[in-house]
Symmetry: C2
Subunit: 485 residues, 2 copies
Amino acid sequence: MLTYSFEDRGNDTLYEYLYKQIKKDINTQKLKPREKLPSKRALAKHLSISTITVENAYNQLAVEGYIYSVPRSGFFVSDITAREAAGNANISTKASVPEDKKSRTGPQSSPGKIHSVIPKEKRSEFIDFTSNSTTTENFPFATWNKLMRNTLSENRDSLMIKSPSEGVIQLREAIANYLYQFRGIIASPEQIVVGAGTEYLYGLIIQLLGFDKTYAVEDPGYQKISRIYAANKVKCVHITLDEDGVNIDALKGSKADVLHISPSHHFPTGLVTPVSRRYELLNWASEHENRYIIEDDYDSEFRLLGKPIPALQSIDTRDKVIYINTFSKSLTSTIRISYMVLPKTLMERYKNELSFYACTVSNFEQYTLAKFIDQGYFERHINRTRNYYRKIRDEILSNIKSHMDNKKSYIMEEDAGLHFLLKVDTSINDKELVQRARRNGIIISCLSQYYYDKANAREHILVINYSGIKLDSISEGVERLYGTF
Amino acid sequence: MLTYSFEDRGNDTLYEYLYKQIKKDINTQKLKPREKLPSKRALAKHLSISTITVENAYNQLAVEGYIYSVPRSGFFVSDITAREAAGNANISTKASVPEDKKSRTGPQSSPGKIHSVIPKEKRSEFIDFTSNSTTTENFPFATWNKLMRNTLSENRDSLMIKSPSEGVIQLREAIANYLYQFRGIIASPEQIVVGAGTEYLYGLIIQLLGFDKTYAVEDPGYQKISRIYAANKVKCVHITLDEDGVNIDALKGSKADVLHISPSHHFPTGLVTPVSRRYELLNWASEHENRYIIEDDYDSEFRLLGKPIPALQSIDTRDKVIYINTFSKSLTSTIRISYMVLPKTLMERYKNELSFYACTVSNFEQYTLAKFIDQGYFERHINRTRNYYRKIRDEILSNIKSHMDNKKSYIMEEDAGLHFLLKVDTSINDKELVQRARRNGIIISCLSQYYYDKANAREHILVINYSGIKLDSISEGVERLYGTF
């Protein structure tokens, strides 16, 4: 009969230990397929343990398929010979770590804590003109903390109720009001879909409009957008820009169905598409029922001079524009909440085809953000942040101007969102420029990097993104930048 | 010269009002394309306002493309005739709401708050045996609140630093430790990808493994999975189950590349795939380099009897299993945090092809959850919740048993996760059964609804999901349920 010494069982209970020992014997074929196991009572007596202990061990082995029971006959060993081909590993449980796996996971003090083998990131750069992150000073920690606490006490029940696929109605109402008051956009809350970042929403839009459609993006443009289309294996064409935005003839020649643009502040050139071209684009969209325009209004809150540019969506009378915006730019990139406003026909399609998806944003943050907007904190936050960015921009510009006498350079498009272009006079090519800057501790990108068709790319134009820059690093940062060319 | 009375300007500033008036004149063609505007100084004098006011209005109009400047000559009206074809809407700004849009948005007290026209959800059912939501009593509000507050004070800087695409390393380490201690899974934190829900991760997996692959799902099974494959326009085949899980011959005949299963607790039958079949499945996967198994371990924490079933991933020695699990089931479905463990080769592919995606979970919740796991709260929460569910299950079972004498019925698979099957003896068909129950205030689903191939569907088997049930509603709920057949 099966005999096991329980002395080496360590921290295992009797039942766990017995289960593991029998499993081992089955895995090593000490117990053969179809072999009959002793009765529970007999084994219990033999090992001087209780019948319940044996029963628990047998049951667990049976559930996992190592043994099977035959009514009125007892337990038998299963045939798991398929295992030979599959690689002969142990089934690991809490205490049994297969040796062949240990080696795969790199150095670790098993069974202690598992730590990452990747060294924690060490940031060696002095200033990063490419970062989209926001600075700690600007995030309203105290307010957010207060509202999150309120949410956790006031909204207990609704926090546990599954959000509609499109987001909780309180947040969609808050967004609709915000859009109405600050962007001149009339959208009913029922047209709004909330999601965990614009990148996620781009993916949903593809599922909504079709994998068989051709998507057009701006060239130059924000490269992530075309990467998302590529990752989704849909056809993506790049449309050249002229001085008014997307070139209409190029668009018409492209056979695109869907146009993805940022008409109020193009990245990275800062170009604003004038109203005449906007109407031309809407006309293009109206020519075919499958045509749509995705308006990515990513940093419209941060126009530093004059009034905000009205959204393309606000002059669209034919339901051709999908408006999309994010709180990642205005609040912090590390809170993942974006939204889109769908034309009514598309919203119906969404309801029918895609609303089985769970909303990707946690209720906790949805309710907190709704309070943040409703109670006026968001507006105040935007105003304060806009002033902050104005200060940062002015400081960068004045530092740049102080270097202009020695080194020819020219500032382009300074009033729009959180970046501008700086044309510099140098014979160094862009690639070398970026590398030299990096050696000086400066992360910078060049306009030419954002072109798909490199033949059109203009050299020596730096993209100065200042959303993640701190005031006290500007003077040295700009000096180091000018020291690279 | 342009003449405007500033008396009707309401709350607008002089500049805003002037800007709107000129825009209106351009939109209505009172000002014709290419017409020259008066000089700033002349108009200012004429209207008795400052030159700066005129300059601001002209600049805004120029930025939006309504007028253009010719150096040393002045400002001219743009040609926006494309607008005629595009539908002749006004460009709306804060105070100007186009009339044609107002009507589209349904009743609203514009310009007051926008509210949803959809009535707030009114739940008329007495008990819902299909809900996946968790109850308010079970969520650890106080602890979560405390840890969120700690996160907001301790992690200020890291909260603002963009999470790696795969999630912050602290959370991935916490998950790796949890998996090691409680699921017998050895995964390094570098193999883990965190995302906003398993549904989101399924989409990522398609992008990772290929839109050209054939995905196999269980029949019967959790229908959302095949809907996600359908929404992504990939080929999806349904594999019949036998008593050990996915039928191997059917799988081999299906030409599937990727198999998507829940081997430790099938939904909704509760079936546990025995170890012999597990090895057969791994062998199948090993036969071709493109073959993978997605192991969806969605409620493994809630096995109420015996030890947890070891994960398929833990006996995979050939890097063929993608393990996926969620905190939506164990914590609350309204916090959207799931994760997957990728085999090393797939993780490399992810790094190369998909790590440009931003992580979809907010840093705030990532750090809070990491603390929740690391400080032992998660383990305690699971234990407490498991006890709670055991109580709920026992209460439901004892209530069912008290009705069995009158109405024949039979309980199947009661020990596994948060649902079991109840076979009832009735001549009413399933569709009618569900409708009758609904009229009795009971939301219920039948096993037959989860079959793709309806020919295999067995009738009269109810799926009793009790994760969202409250203790005090059980007695009446079960009575009402038995009153329907």
